[in-house]
Assembly symmetry: C2
Homo-oligomer: 197 residues x 2
Amino acid sequence: MPLPEPLVRLVEELQRLPGIGAKSAQRLAFHILKTPREETDRLADAVREVKERVTYCSVCNNITESDPCVYCRSDVRDQRVICVVEEPQNVSAVEKTREFKGVYHVLMGALSPLQGIGPDDLKIKSLLARIDNGVAEVILATNPTVEGEATAIYLARLLKPLGVRVTRIAMGVPVGSDLEYTDEITMQKAIEGRREV
Amino acid sequence: MPLPEPLVRLVEELQRLPGIGAKSAQRLAFHILKTPREETDRLADAVREVKERVTYCSVCNNITESDPCVYCRSDVRDQRVICVVEEPQNVSAVEKTREFKGVYHVLMGALSPLQGIGPDDLKIKSLLARIDNGVAEVILATNPTVEGEATAIYLARLLKPLGVRVTRIAMGVPVGSDLEYTDEITMQKAIEGRREV
C-alpha cells in the first residue's frame, strides 16, 4: 500500500529543489510530518512571503524589497564603478569584504552554450544601457569558472569600445591555502598574475 | 547591507530541516526566489496539506489519511502478526518485500540514553496493550544499530512473559554485496546467524 497522497506530493515538490534527491526528499517529508504545526507553517509562510516581498532591482537585478535597491539609490556608494556578478548571492560575497564602495550589476547567470544560455538570456543589454560618460570602471566579478571566464571575455569585448575601463578580479592561490594542494590551473593563474613586490 | 528580511527568515526556516546547513539553506532560498510563483506555491501548499491531511494511526502509529490505517482495518492482513519498526518510513521498507502480510507497530524512535530517549518516549505501552490471546507473533524489525538492538532486547524482555512468540529480523551480509567489503560486526552476525543448507 502506497504512501498517503499528500506525502507523495510533498516528496515530489521537495525533489524539485536543487541538490535534493529522492531519498533526501523523503527524509525531509517525514521530518516535516513529525514537526509541530507552528514550525511547518512558518516554513510555508516564509516560502510564500519571500516570493511576495522580495523582487529584483530594475536597475541592477539584485534582490531587493524596494525598487531601486539600496545600492542603486544610495548617495554614499560610488555610482561610477559597476561590479558585474553572475547571481544575486555573489553581491553578498563582494559586500563581505567591506572594501567595495561602488554599485552592482547582476547578470542572472553566465554564458553556457552547453546549457543553452546565450547572451540574450543574461542581463547584458541593461548593463550596456547603464554605461554612459559617468561610468568610470566596470569590474568583471563573474565566477572563476569556464563559463564565468567566457562571460567576462565576452563582456570586455562589448564594453571596451564604449570607452570605459574594464577590469577582471584576480585569480590566484586563495589566502590561507597550501601550495601543495593548489590545482595546476589556479597555480598557473597565480604565476601569470604575479606582481612586483 | 544585509539580505532582505523575508529571505533571511526563509534561510532560517530551511536551516531547521535535517541535513540542511547554512550554505545549503541559502542556496535553496535563492533557488526559491528564482523559481516561478506557481511552483513555490505548490511547495508551500504541499507542506501545509501534509500536516492537515496526514495523521498517525491510533492503533499502530503508522502515518495515514484515515484512522485506523489501511493495515489495521484490513481483512486480508493477518492481525495476529505484528511487525515492530522504529519509524513510519520503515513500514515502506518492509512493504516493498511484498512478503509480509501482518500488521505493524511504529515505536516512533528507538531507545537512546545518549539522546535522552527512554521507554516512556516510545509507543511501547500501546504495543503491550495490543498483545492479547489473538496475537501469535511479534517481529522486532528495529534498525540493526546499537539503539535498535537495545530496543529489540528491551521489548523482547517485556513481550516474552506475555506468552507471545518474539522474533528478530536476521542480520548478516546484504544480498549482492562483496564479503571483501563487509565490516567485521556484520560478518560476525552473519556467522552467528548461519543456517543449515
